[in-house]
């Protein structure tokens, strides 16, 4: 099969990579770059488990062909914070009990991140709209919404919701 060479920034690191034209962005991230925090729940753009931030926008990485990501800047959950230095949103998810099985969590946190970058003080309706592309089958959403509210307070204290 023909291979294509693409170049992209993933979590602030430059990556050059050879892929087949039909490789999806999610496969590139998981299989080639071992960034398995990006999850596949449906492969159809329905669940949001595969959410990443690409060029400042939320995308379902199962619907993006890897060649389309040539030259793109991408943030995955691994680019947000680490165990010894958690992002305020990650902390808020832990403290609010917003994590059960955790399979939706990476996508949910990135959706929250994107929302708060665009609108640092969303009301409840805006929060709900901000995570409307992300399904959670465990929590019933209430604690996720609480976690995002807690993040708003934390972020406005620390860095006014600036992107890292």
């Amino acid at each position: 099969m023909t291979k294509l060479k693409i170049e992209l920034m993933v979590n602030r690191k430059k990556r050059k990579i050879e892929i087949t034209p039909s490789t999806r962005l999610i496969d590139l991230l998981r299989d080639d770059l071992q960034l398995t925090g990006t999850k596949e729940g449906c492969g159809k753009g329905e669940c949001g488990a595969c959410t990443v931030i690409m060029n400042g926008e939320l995308v379902a990485s199962c619907l993006v062909l890897a060649p389309q990501a040539d030259g793109a800047v991408i943030t995955t959950i691994e680019g947000l914070g680490s165990s010894d230095h958690l992002d305020p949103i990650q902390e808020a998810f832990i403290e609010s009990g917003a994590v059960q099985c955790g399979f939706c969590t990476p996508g949910m946190i990135l959706a929250a991140r994107r929302l708060l970058e665009e609108n640092p003080h969303p009301d409840e309706e805006e929060i709900k709209r901000g995570i409307s592309g992300n399904l959670c089958r465990c929590t019933g959403y209430q604690k996720i919404i609480e976690a995002i509210k807690l993040s708003i307070a934390r972020l406005s204290k620390s860095d006014s919701g600036k992107a890292k």
């Binding site: 999850k39 959950i77 691994e78 914070g81 165990s83 958690l86 998810f93 955790g102 946190i109 089958r137």
Partner: protein, 423 residues
Amino acid sequence: MSEKYIGKDILKVDVQDKVTGKALYPDDIYFKDMLYLKIKRATYPHAYLRKLDLSKAEKLPGVVRIISAADIPQVKNFGLMIKDQPVLVGIGQKMRYMGDALAIVIAESKEVASKAVKLIEVEVEKLEVISDPLRAMDKNAPLIHQDGNILATHYLEKGDIKMGFAEADLIVEKEYRTSFLDHVPLQVEAGVGIYDKKSGVITLWVATQWLHDTQADIAQSLGLSKEKIRIIQPVIGGAFGKKEDISVHIHLALAAIETKRPVKLIYSREESMIAQSKRHPFIIRAKTGATKEGYLTAWQAFVIGDTGAYASSGPAVVHKGMYHCTGPYNVANVKGVAYTVYTNNTYAGAMRGFGTTQMAFAYESQMDILAHQLGINPAQFRLQNAYEIGSSTPNGQILTHSVGVKETIKEALNMAGWKGEAQ
């Protein structure tokens, strides 16, 4: 201990890994030299398999091996309660629903495995497809399994049902139907397997809700001792009952033994919908009697649970549902019968509530209809019939502690600010 933990916020042990994306779910486990599996599934819901032509698929570059039933004559059926599920359907054998497995394709990549599955040619001899449990119960219906389409019948009797209806001023009799429901855990079925030639041990990284039962079932199916099956439970992306049944497990084990290489199998969401368990659709006929003062006197329940092509936990789910036919309400005279019935639908198994959620639709509807016809406030009607300490359930259990239904109803009314409909 209690002072240290109860009433305190305790962090989940793996929560840091979950928020940073480090937690490893089955699909996140990779090995060098790993092969990918894809399952060829049934092409018709009820049919004899007459021909399985693997030749085109085997020729596709990147295909390592294709396993069909002919390769594994020693392998036995599996199943949670009854061993009625074949690992692979062989020539001359029956496929009973669209999820039955016909062949395991093993390839160097996911893409090749998916392509190869489409190149497998199947010929079948079609049989009548039974999608309605009432048809399955007909005397002249074709048999899905040898021993008959009614897999289990359970009875329930408390008090004197005739007397109970004689005491009633009002009797309401209705039929209710519930539908199939998928649990949709956010992660589909997935796993990785490795076979160690020296020790003969198969290690599987795969989700299960019944670690030891799953281990025993895999072992009996493969004809190995339990010590040869090691299951490592990774982080699970939701289950809700759906991961009680075997899915990728035995196919992974067979492919690992066959290739001596690490193997991975991930279902697509569609495959998970088609092949893996569902909530049982119920047909419930409820006949309920009450006095004009609004006290229940008799409750009769006739329940059919469609367990689909295989038993799974069906007999337990359906008869447990029947035991809850009156809901949390006192009834002195109860009679019930429950049938667990095979059809050619996707098999049904455990799901949150284990049969009781379906029944709730019927009994709460009955309560509303009765209250309405008696001209009594439906909340009051429920309160005056609700369980309390000392109540006995339809199967005769005396409730001795933790009966919160009355408080729950009152608190719900309070929170909803509901004042009643016909006051």
